[in-house]
């Protein structure tokens, strides 16, 4: 690796104490994001993607949450920072965009108030300067008639427009890292494409790293250079985008790939479905977590948990049987997927 990574997470665990006992939502996750790199994190709902993202900003109520491991960012471990130092990171050095633009903006304040609040929090700026900056951000995110929008309330805007505002808000202090948690899930397909396009553009302009959380593999193919697949709080596979799509080694990844509808005309093929549901976090036992749903599971998988191993340079996988799968040329036929992108 030529340069130090922008963000490096080492063995992160996030535990919540709930009424049913302690829930480990993230369990020993390690990953890194290089400067100006876009990394995708994929997995079904409930696999700990969002918790990982929000752990980076330490957004959980720390009375009921326990973090472990390290989150290294700009030479400091975020988990060691005081609450006050942490506040200087949030929204300033690292920003986050949430899934639902409908409810992520405060309904009783104008768009302008909300953006200016973030600017004035982290930068020395008069109201006038902050207003100018906010206008500029709205223009940057491609919002028409920004003067008027500044005075609008969130409910007066469409969903796509609100997500643009969320992006403007996130970029208000030119962060080094942008975390996008399912930024397009709640939007129409055409709007989705526009928003992704916008994020790509802005990444070039502002030279920031992006952590893109999604369950939509076509979004990953379009946006990311590297992908991390998570399952039940763990990283199960990590690889360059093309490698992952061509030669997925973890049966879960293959399952995800096969369940994407393909546009190459083979209509008769049944859409693949991973059997079973994601078990609740506290039901996890000492075994391969995917074993109950895995078509290749053996006695070994059911009795001992595999560790994350490097199958080839830059390609890591958590599976007892990856070598067999590798020998068979990857678990997916791999073809056609990129067509959807």
């Amino acid at each position: 690796m030529s340069q130090a990574p922008l963000l490096e997470i080492k063995h992160l665990t996030t535990k919540f104490s709930t009424e049913q006992g302690i829930v480990k939502a993230v369990d020993g996750v390690s990953l890194h994001i290089d400067p100006e790199e876009t990394v995708g994190i994929v997995g079904e709902s409930g696999c700990g993607k969002s918790v990982t993202a929000e752990s980076i900003l330490r957004l959980f109520d720390e009375k009921t949450t326990e973090y472990g491991g390290q989150i290294l960012f700009e030479g400091r471990d975020l988990l060691q920072l005081s609450e006050e130092e942490m506040r200087k990171v949030r929204g300033n050095r690292i920003s986050i965009i949430f899934q639902d633009p409908m409810s992520s903006l405060n309904p009783v304040y104008t768009i302008g108030d909300q953006i200016m609040e973030a600017i004035r929090l982290h930068q020395r700026a008069s109201r006038r300067q902050a207003r100018e900056k906010a206008l500029e951000l709205l223009r940057l995110t491609g919002i028409s008639d920004p003067e008027r929008r500044l005075r609008s309330y969130p409910h007066e805007l469409s969903g796509g427009m609100r997500q643009r505002v969320m992006i403007a808000l996130a970029l208000s202090c030119e962060p080094r890292l942008l975390i996008a948690d399912e930024p397009t899930t709640a939007l129409d397909v055409t709007i989705q494409a526009q928003i992704l396009e916008l994020m790509n553009e802005l990444k070039e302009k502002l030279r920031m790293g992006i952590m893109l959380i999604t369950h939509d593999l076509s979004v990953v193919a379009q946006m990311c250079s590297r992908v991390i697949v998570m399952y039940l709080g763990e990283v199960v596979e990590e690889a360059e985008v093309t490698t992952l799509f061509d030669r997925p080694l973890h049966p879960y990844t293959s399952g995800l790939l096969k369940s994407v509808p393909q546009l190459d005309g083979r209509r008769k093929q049944k859409l693949y479905e991973i059997s079973g549901a994601v078990p609740a976090m506290h039901e996890v036992e000492a075994c391969c977590r995917f074993a109950p749903r895995c078509p290749f599971a053996t006695e070994l998988c059911r009795s001992k948990a595999p560790s994350l191993e490097e199958a080839e340079p830059g390609h890591r996988v958590r599976c007892w049987h990856y070598k067999d799968i590798q020998a068979n040329g990857g678990g997916s036929d791999g073809s056609g997927l990129l067509v959807t992108a």
Binding site: E54, L57, L59, R87, K88, V89, R90, G91, N92, S95, I96, F98, D100, S103, S104, L105, N106, P107, V108, Y109, E117, A118, L121, H122, Y153, H155, E156, M166, L169
Partner: protein
């Protein structure tokens, strides 16, 4: 906004009509002839007949209603049979103590309730929270007159800090005025505080769970700013509704407490009129009070429109 106001005002018309009909019919609930009930058993036949025609009781029911309703619309609520004044005069002469009491009680209630409600919501699930919930359960379970009696026992009889009952107008000095009002205001304030604190807690908890709160925290705002500027401003809309409603009940429903503490307000007027069978005063005061209550609710709705940008906008859009 105008459309919103017009809509709200129009929706009151049927309510007010029902109120008027019920108030009108009240007097006809009495077993037997209202005139002889008013005058008692010993009244002569002539005086009963005279009262009947004076009250218009010899007309058919629907004509009686229109005569009465015509009077109401023009502001004539009839005359008191026992006091030498019109019902409106009697009502407004008793308004000031009730208003003083309501304002003082509401100040106490809102102060206590916001403090407790916010504390409980921010420390959800802790001992503080449970104590606040217990307090508010007690507040809705203790009858007001009973709390009044207990406070009289404690502060007036045992400790002798405050007068047992009575009233002094503001003109006799502010302190003297307040001295008499503190106990009844505490009673009313405590009950209302229970309601408002519960509402504050639950709507603040709801607001704190909204996604925009996460956005605010992710901006790097301090917890205090997140709670007060972002969550409370949103939670305040339902809280305000309850505050308004409770203020309505304070003005209208303080009758029991007024009679315990002998405060010469509207409530006492109605109760003494009931004892004297002064039907015109009962009818008129209840009508005025209910209309006040309805109008207060209208005012709350309008303020609500000002507070929540989603309500404005010519009645269009919104979520």
């Amino acid at each position: 906004m105008t459309k919103y106001i017009v809509q709200r005002v129009l929706s009151l018309v049927p309510v007010l009509i029902v109120v008027a009909v019920v108030v009108f019919l009240l007097i006809h609930l009495s077993p037997g002839d209202p005139a002889s009930v008013i005058l008692g058993d010993e009244a002569s036949e002539e005086s009963v007949a005279e009262l009947r025609s004076r009250l218009g009781l010899d007309l058919p029911l629907y004509r009686q209603f229109f005569v009465w309703f015509g009077g109401v619309v023009t502001g004539d609520l009839g005359d008191s049979i026992f006091m030498d004044m019109s019902v409106t005069e009697a009502f407004f002469s008793r308004l000031q103590p009730t208003l003083s009491l309501a304002v003082l009680a509401q100040t106490i209630a809102v102060g206590i309730a916001l403090l407790l409600g916010i504390a409980a919501a921010r420390r959800r699930g802790t001992l503080t929270d449970q104590a606040v919930m217990g307090f508010s359960l007690l507040g809705i379970s203790v009858p007001s007159f009973l709390l009044g009696l207990f406070l009289i026992l404690l502060f007036a009889v045992k400790l002798k800090w405050l007068p047992v009952a009575g009233y002094a107008p503001i003109s006799s000095g502010l302190w003297n005025h307040l001295r008499y009002l503190i106990l009844p205001a505490m009673v009313l304030g405590f009950m209302q505080a229970a309601l408002i604190a519960r509402m504050t807690r639950s709507s603040l908890i709801e607001a704190l769970g909204e996604p925009y709160i996460k956005t605010a925290r992710a901006k790097g705002l301090k917890p205090g700013v997140v709670t007060y500027k972002h969550a409370l401003r949103n939670a305040f809309i339902p809280i305000l509704t309850v505050i308004g409603e409770t203020f309505g009940t304070l003005i209208t429903g303080a009758s029991v407490v007024e009679s315990v503490f002998n405060v010469p307000g509207i409530g006492q007027l109605i109760i003494s009129s009931i004892q004297r069978r002064d039907f015109a005063v009962i009818q008129g005061s209840i009508l005025l009070i209910t209309v006040t209550y309805v109008l207060l609710n209208l005012a709350i709705d309008l303020v609500y429109g000002l507070l929540d940008p989603r309500v404005k906008l010519n009645g269009g859009r919104g979520r």
